[in-house]
């Protein structure tokens, strides 16, 4: 007789076998959903928790130390605008990090692109939409180049982007000229970080966002329910919609207050950069979570060989991710340019990149690929911006500034690592 042949009677046995998939028949009560979430936390999957905790703790800390200034509308609007370049850069990096790659040159690419923008506006004198498109196109082309070296030739991305980090510093220097600075006085570009959406329009936008979100969530809930698939309880969906709406309207309300310090001046409304970031966040989230491309990005990051064998064009995914990253770096460069109204030869060098990587990681994106979300960049970027903003208010010595920033980064990473370790199951 054979070891592996078995009659049907033998296989079914005297008792009815367990039918399997009992995990998919989870209870749809609020309690069940909460239990599920706690289980996820217990299993070490903290998601956005460290970043959100970080924002809250740092917020309380600085509010206590600088009660008069930290929570003022003026400072909050400053904070948001300060965070935007870092958030956008980090959002691009998330795509690359998801693949398990790194782009050390993202910072200097934002420099090159803003140099292109500035020279086109100032030297060539083109109109702003052309200059912006050219800057983003420059980013995209650079990204394709990087992606090609990584994806087709197969050089580790750390090395490629390290070389490009050095090389592009030279390119920016060449475009801008030694010691030079190119002032960008173009009103539309300047407006991005320096002007605000009219108050009424701001409220309209906020309402649109809140309603659209609510409609989408409820539609999704209904469609899952009707197909008999796992879905969250309605109460939880409603709670989430209410929370998001509260945040959106809250921020809008704060930013709609006149925050000018001098009485004669009027300064209110959402800075243009903020809705720009919201739009980028929505698009990036959609691409990563709901499209085949996004799925393939996660697959390549998780196991590139498996992805290849599944017929995914791994090279194309790599090139595309680097293209997206560099294009977002270009947008980040434009935001930074807008803030300073100028571009200098060292734009994007220094610690720019490290802050952006730190933001993505604090937000919850893994450096080993396969785990991360677009929102990580926003949350992590806010943490980094709050640290800088708060320390600015405190006016601590330069050396402390370095040490504290490093310390917070370390702390956020430890929380994540410890949770993961506690739940460690020797997964490899």
């Amino acid at each position: 007789m054979s070891s592996n042949t078995l009659t049907a009677a033998e296989a079914s046995g005297p008792h009815k076998p367990a039918a399997g998939f009992e995990g998919d028949r989870q209870d749809n009560t609020v309690g069940g959903a909460v239990r599920g979430y706690l289980n996820k936390l217990r299993a070490g999957d903290l998601g956005a928790l460290p970043a959100i905790l970080g924002i809250i703790v740092l917020g309380i800390f600085f509010t206590v130390l600088r009660p008069d200034t930290f929570l003022t509308p003026l400072n909050l609007s400053n904070l948001l605008v300060q965070a935007t370049p870092i958030i956008v850069l980090a959002m691009g990096l998330v795509f690359v990090l998801l693949l398990g790659e790194i782009d050390l040159s993202a910072g200097v690419i934002s420099g090159v692109c803003s140099a292109v923008l500035a020279q086109l506006l100032v030297q060539v004198g083109v109109s702003w939409p052309i200059a912006v498109l050219a800057a983003i196109a420059t980013g995209a082309v650079i990204g394709v180049f990087t992606g090609t070296l990584v994806g087709i030739i197969g050089i580790p991305s750390f090395v490629v982007t390290l070389a490009l980090f050095l090389g592009f510093q030279g390119v920016t220097l060449r475009i801008i000229g030694q010691g030079g600075t190119v002032p960008v006085r173009e009103p539309v570009i300047r407006a991005l970080a320096n002007e605000n959406v009219p108050v009424t329009l701001g409220w309209v936008l906020a309402a649109v966002v809140a309603v659209a979100y609510a409609a989408f969530e409820l539609w999704r809930w209904r469609s899952l329910k009707s197909r008999g698939l796992a879905h969250q309880p309605l109460a939880l969906v409603v709670a989430r919609v209410v929370l998001i709406a509260a945040v959106v309207f809250g921020v809008t309300a704060i930013l709609s207050v006149d925050r000018a310090l001098a009485a004669a001046i009027d300064l209110a409304g959402i800075p243009y950069a903020v809705p720009l970031v919201v739009v980028l966040l929505l698009v990036a989230t959609f691409v990563l979570a709901r499209t085949a491309f996004g799925r393939h990005v996660y697959a390549v990051g998780g196991n590139a060989e498996a992805a290849r064998r599944a017929g995914i064009n791994v090279t194309r995914i790599r090139v595309a991710a680097f293209m997206i990253s560099s294009s977002l770096a270009a947008i980040s460069g434009i935001l930074a340019t807008s803030r300073l109204s100028s571009v200098t030869p060292d734009a994007g060098a220094g610690n720019t990149l490290l802050y952006a990587v730190g933001a993505a990681v604090i937000g919850g994106t893994s450096l080993f690929g396969g785990r991360g979300k677009a929102r990580d960049a926003v949350l992590g970027g806010l943490v980094i911006a709050i640290i800088n903003n708060g320390l600015g208010l405190l006016g601590v010595a330069a050396y402390l500034n370095f040490i504290i920033t490093g310390g917070v980064l370390l702390l956020a990473a430890s929380v994540d690592a410890l949770a993961r370790r506690r739940a460690a199951t020797a997964r490899r």
């Binding site: 296989a11 697959a299 498996a306």
Partner: protein, 268 residues
């Protein structure tokens, strides 16, 4: 040169789905496949047997386009083809379950099963329909201990992973299905299901290549047996032409009576 002693001519009428002619493959200085001839017929299960390290996995990875071959020709349905990557193989209708299961640990079972061929509505993924289809396929394969099809693959047991890989391959209607030791990690009931499945695939007209070390399985499902010995095809014959002892001799020494490699081929 080495050549199998032609003991039986394949049925004259039928055109093989896949046929390899003089395929060679080396890794650096190590030649793993020597001048391989192999025909795989539709509606038939071809058992590919051979000792550990004989080159079975290398051979099927060459067919799948994972290792490009050094020389030789590959014909698919009578037409010569170039296999430069798994995408080429998939396009032709070749589906493979690899010995080193290729699953993305950070994705869940459903996501892995539909990887590379996601169902979409417009550009949006159709998660619901994929989840249903995955659950149905797995249920058919007698998977009873899996908690959820939304479980990450990293948390599966060895046999559960094996089942997911098999389920993934049979989701698609392919002309040629290759399974590299699919039952190695499976339990008794699951093995039964996979053997039935293999038979069913062949009976519905698919060509199947089935790699195993288990002789009972060979005799239960195979129509033809191909034996590899140190990278050479020692025999490629109908199952009715050989018995268990002969196959084991072919595996362990490359020859069995009239069958097998010419003695001089064994020398070089």
């Amino acid at each position: 040169m080495s050549a199998p002693v032609e003991s039986t001519t394949p049925p004259a009428l039928e055109r093989p789905t896949l046929s390899l002619r003089g395929v060679n493959k080396s890794f650096g200085a190590v030649q793993v496949l020597h001048d391989v001839h192999l025909d795989v017929y539709p509606g038939k299960v071809t058992a590919l047997v051979g000792d550990n390290g004989a080159g079975k996995s290398t051979l099927i990875k060459s067919i799948a386009g994972i290792h490009p071959i050094d020389s030789g020709t590959v014909e698919f349905e009578g037409k010569p083809v170039q296999l430069n990557g798994p995408r080429d193989a998939a396009r032709l209708g070749i589906e493979v379950v690899y010995q080193d299961l290729a699953l993305a640990d950070n994705l869940d079972v459903v996501q892995n099963m539909f990887l590379g061929r996601e169902r979409k509505q417009g550009i949006v993924l159709d998660e619901a329909s994929m989840e249903e289809a995955a659950r149905d396929t797995l249920a058919k394969l007698s998977v009873r201990t899996l908690k959820s099809v939304r479980q990450l693959v990293s948390s599966l047991s060895g046999g559960q992973r094996q089942t997911v890989a098999i389920a993934k391959a049979v989701l698609w209607e392919s002309k040629l299905v290759i399974l590299d030791e699919p039952t190695a990690a499976l339990g008794v009931a699951q093995t039964r299901q996979v053997l039935d499945l293999v038979r069913r695939l062949a009976d519905t007209g698919h060509a199947v290549v089935f790699i195993t070390h288990n002789m009972v399985d060979v005799f239960e499902v195979a129509d033809r047996v191909a034996a590899l010995y140190l990278g050479r095809v020692a025999a490629d014959v109908p199952i009715s032409d050989v018995d268990r002892t002969q196959i084991i001799e072919l595996i362990t020494s490359g020859r069995s009576g009239e069958l097998g490699l010419a003695p001089d081929a064994l020398e070089d």
